[in-house]
Symmetry: C2
Subunit: 136 residues, 2 copies
């Protein structure tokens, strides 16, 4: 392609870090923090500086390839943004993470809220915390 694909951001370069990070996030389909991501990369023999990781993640997020997720533990987590929109079931004991779909539920809620409160909702954060099958 030529000049199109303008995008406010420059075309990302094909680097080792870029490829490896995307691959890890696509395979391990869970929200990963920087340290987790870094050790996953190391396991694959790819050593990447944490600054690079944060910068890559910022870029990937901007381009919509990745979504930021917050588990309320003060760490930024990122997950691949391929599948459907979903939420997480975070086991507070073993830290495992499962996914749930809430088809239409939140959309309905948000519409109702927008009407009543006249607040334009652009995003939401919804995560569930508790005990998974193995831990309860």
């Amino acid at each position: 392609m030529t000049a199109l694909m303008n995008r406010s951001a420059t075309a990302p370069k094909e680097t080792k870090a870029h490829r490896a990070i995307l691959r890890v996030l696509e395979e391990d389909h869970a929200p990963l923090a920087e340290t987790e991501l870094r050790s996953r990369l190391l396991q694959r023999g790819v050593r990447v500086n944490k600054t690079t990781i944060y910068r890559q993640l910022a870029g990937l997020k901007e381009r919509g390839a990745v979504k930021e997720v917050d588990f309320g533990d003060g760490k930024k987590r990122f997950e691949s943004n391929d599948g459907e929109h979903h939420h997480h079931l975070v086991c507070t004991k073993c830290k495992s993470v499962d996914e749930v779909q809430l088809p239409g539920e939140l959309v309905r809620l948000e519409k109702a809220i927008s009407k009543n409160k006249k607040f334009k909702i652009l995003d939401h954060a919804l995560e569930f915390f508790g005990l998974c099958v193995n831990c309860k």
Copy 2:
């Protein structure tokens, strides 16, 4: 009393910091971060060390007087835990915070999830981000 009352939770002592912090949280009914809380206290002429604030908040939370809220900006926020269970409408522009009640909605959702996924939900985090009436 003597040796009993072993507890994990001692009766909180009536201190200046304790009183002042509770009062600020009760009056300014919004989730406040440590720095915000601290300056609110200063405005009332109460100078409290940040360590003390964090420790008081931890205690208040343990006793259920206060709830921790996460807006995903890497800061712990706490709000008074009197009123009804509610969620927040956070304006990403002017940072104002409004409240919404979602009567029964989440309870229903959580029950359905528990059944399908066999995950025991103990807590959830749900906040909405967008533009308030003035900013949109």
